[in-house]
């Protein structure tokens, strides 16, 4: 099993782990009482979630009039938040699908949590279009089902409907992919559990027993799902960008949007994965599985996608100037120097300039700077969506209807509350499921464990797993 490993590869699992230690380390958070820091964070998250529930209820009860949207700026924080959350939801599938196809072993340390994060981020994203409808109980109208209105169907030519299909497909496929990976790990937790926990985990583990044929099909399933999820993840943010790009609003009507949105989505998604993983590895003591190597790899992706986003910003400006068309030129000049100039500065600073510090290897490997930057990038990516949406709408065709938009407390509450929703779901996840893919980590141990490769590697030891200390041969004779 110790295939050839290039000497430049650094270990991805440190601490000379055995298979059994991996199981112990990763299952521990699901088996012990939560720490005080978890309880405090969870309570804060649930409080934020309460704010979310209150503000959504307020919106539904009073109506969309409780938001500060007006006839000119009819998309504000709601759609900004929607695009922001969907973007964050891109990293998980990218890590688990695209990096699986590229055979990047470092994905095994972070894929589980990143996929969970994806699902929770899409849950948060999905709230915004729904509550933006105002009459949320009519949300079923977005689906094409036989109805008593004709039947009158939805408009299949509308990018907003494409979005419905893209987001719901993405959510479903991500969930299936994530759960298929969780089944063997739930079985590991099941086989260690007792009593009621054993019953619950038996149910969710679907009766997994590790048979060779099952593993073969499981690997085949993972690979094909990865192959399907790869174009899917690229299509989702492409379609989100179509919401803007297929409109006839100057500043939105640009062909650069799909690649620029996808790069931005990966950028913000990786930043959010880093924010969560840097906390999780400390709190859950997973430093041996989520190492500085993982962090550095992700920072490289951030540097690349951040630079792509930066090039896209500059290309936009260049093309606006080069078009020679004054209305297009005004739209972009207004974006940079107009009433929302501060959000443009914030976007440029957070998304384009600051990630350039990752050219330095020392900073790429610094946990402090990584954490700092991950927060910074998420703020920057929020600004990007705000710049695109609000800035453009505030200066529309008729100067007499120009306007300036500031959110109401309800909109702010919904946004802050959606962060609470996200963290509540994520914190629950860290308690009930293995945060690192146990089986996948074990499968790379002999090619990425620090006792096998890297500077501190010592000679191969056979039989590294620990002997069974109890119950040896106890059921051997009973059947005779």
């Amino acid at each position: 099993m110790s295939g050839h490993v290039a000497p430049v590869r650094k270990p991805l699992i440190t601490g000379s782990k055995t298979y059994h230690q991996i199981t112990e380390d990763i299952c521990r958070p699901t088996e012990t009482a939560p720490s005080l820091s978890w309880v405090i964070t969870f309570m804060l998250s649930v409080m934020c979630l309460g704010v979310f529930a209150f503000c959504v209820a307020w919106t539904v009860w009073i109506g969309i009039g409780s938001w500060n949207l007006n006839r000119t700026v009819n998309w504000g924080w709601d759609i900004t938040n929607f695009v922001w959350w969907v973007g964050i939801g891109h990293a998980g599938t990218l890590i688990s699908a695209i990096l699986l196809l590229f055979r990047q072993k470092w994905r095994t340390g972070v894929n589980r949590a990143a996929e969970a994060m994806t699902i929770f981020a899409v849950v948060c994203a999905g709230q915004f279009p729904l509550i933006h409808m105002g009459r949320i109980w009519l949300a079923i109208f977005i689906f094409p089902y036989p109805n008593t209105r004709g039947p009158l169907w939805v408009n299949f030519n509308s990018p907003l409907l494409w979005d419905v299909f893209a987001i719901s497909t993405y959510f479903t496929v991500s969930l299936l992919f994530w759960y298929a990976g969780l089944v063997p790990d739930f079985a590991t937790v099941r086989d260690r559990a007792k009593g009621v926990r054993k019953k619950i985990y038996s149910f969710v583990a679907f009766g997994w027993n590790g048979s060779a044929k099952h593993w073969q099909r499981w690997e085949s399933l993972s690979l094909i799902l990865a192959g399907l999820a790869t174009p899917l993840v690229l299509s989702v943010h492409t379609i989100v960008s179509f919401d803007f790009a297929t409109s006839v609003i100057p500043g939105w009507h640009t062909t650069i949007f799909p690649p620029y949105f996808v790069a931005g989505a990966i950028f913000s998604g990786f930043a959010m994965v880093l924010t969560l993983m840097l906390i999780a590895r400390k709190v859950l003591h997973l430093e041996d599985y989520i190492t500085v190597e993982h962090v550095e790899s992700m920072n490289k992706v951030i540097l690349l996608t951040g630079s792509i986003v930066g090039v896209a910003y500059l290309t936009e400006l260049f093309i606006a100037w080069y078009s020679g068309y004054i209305y297009e030129q005004f739209a972009f000049l207004n974006r940079v120097l107009g009433p929302y100039y501060w959000s443009y500065i914030g976007m440029m600073l957070c998304n384009v300039l600051s990630p350039q510090i990752f050219w330095s290897k020392k900073i790429r490997r610094s946990l402090f700077w990584t954490f700092f930057m991950s927060i910074f990038i998420n703020i920057g990516m929020w600004f990007e969506r705000f710049v695109i949406i609000a800035t453009t709408l505030a200066r529309d065709y008729l100067p007499s209807s120009w306007s300036y938009y500031v959110p109401s407390w309800v909109e702010i509450g919904i946004f802050v509350g959606s962060i609470g929703l996200f963290f509540t779901l994520f914190l629950i996840f860290t308690r009930i499921a293995p945060v690192v893919a146990i089986a996948e980590i074990k499968s790379i141990l002999k090619t990425a464990g620090d006792q096998y490769i890297g500077d501190k590697a010592h000679s191969h030891q056979d039989g590294r797993s620990e002997p069974i200390t109890e119950g040896v041969n106890d059921d051997k004779e009973e059947n005779k």
């Binding site: 408009n155 038996s202 060779a212 590294r464 797993s465 059921d475």
Partner: protein, 177 residues
């Protein structure tokens, strides 16, 4: 026919030992019932004579169904059932149908393939397939033989085989078929 089977199995503590043991079993013409491992062990499938999984065929079929269904449904709605002109475009505006057709292709392929996977593996909520030892999902690699109809000589031979190939422990367990 008995409704129970007596499984004789040995646990190994390393996948290299497991692979070597399977090779020995093949050389000795021992009929391995199944192998259970905590993670997918590469190189095991050809030794056990497992054919490549055909899940991708299921995925392709479901994907094709989704693709045709999505495109066909939109075509029917906008050309037969309730034609509406949107923005002066033709009723049958094919480019605008592509995104949803693509999404439905992926959705059908993924959901169909995952269902097929759980069904052919016999997995699902509440499923209780054969579970031999709690450490198999942790760090033990298991080779299992069906010893229901074997005489004591044959059982002794299998035990000898386990000892010879370095099994850490040998167990037997009665499981439902």
């Amino acid at each position: 026919m008995s409704t129970e089977r007596n499984i004789l199995f040995g646990l190994y503590d390393d996948e290299v030992k497991l692979l070597d043991a399977v090779k020995v079993a093949n050389a000795d013409y021992l009929d391995i019932d199944d192998v259970y491992t905590p993670f997918p062990v590469h190189g095991l499938d050809p030794l056990l004579g497992l054919e490549e999984s055909r899940l991708h065929i299921a995925g392709f079929i479901f994907g094709t169904i989704g693709c045709l269904f999505g495109f066909g449904f939109m075509t029917w709605v906008f050309t037969r059932d309730w034609p509406i002109i949107f923005g002066g475009k033709p009723y049958w505006s094919v480019p605008a149908f592509i995104p949803i057709t693509f999404e439905l292709t992926v959705l059908f392929a993924a959901v169909g393939m995952v269902l097929v996977f759980y069904i052919i593996c016999g997995l699902g909520p509440g499923a209780e397939p054969r579970r031999l030892h709690d450490r198999i999902t942790d760090d033990k690699f298991c080779i299992a033989f069906d010893a229901t109809d074997l005489g004591s000589d044959a059982v002794e031979k299998l035990k000898g085989y386990f000892t010879k190939t370095g099994a850490e422990s040998i167990h037997s367990k009665v499981v439902p078929v």
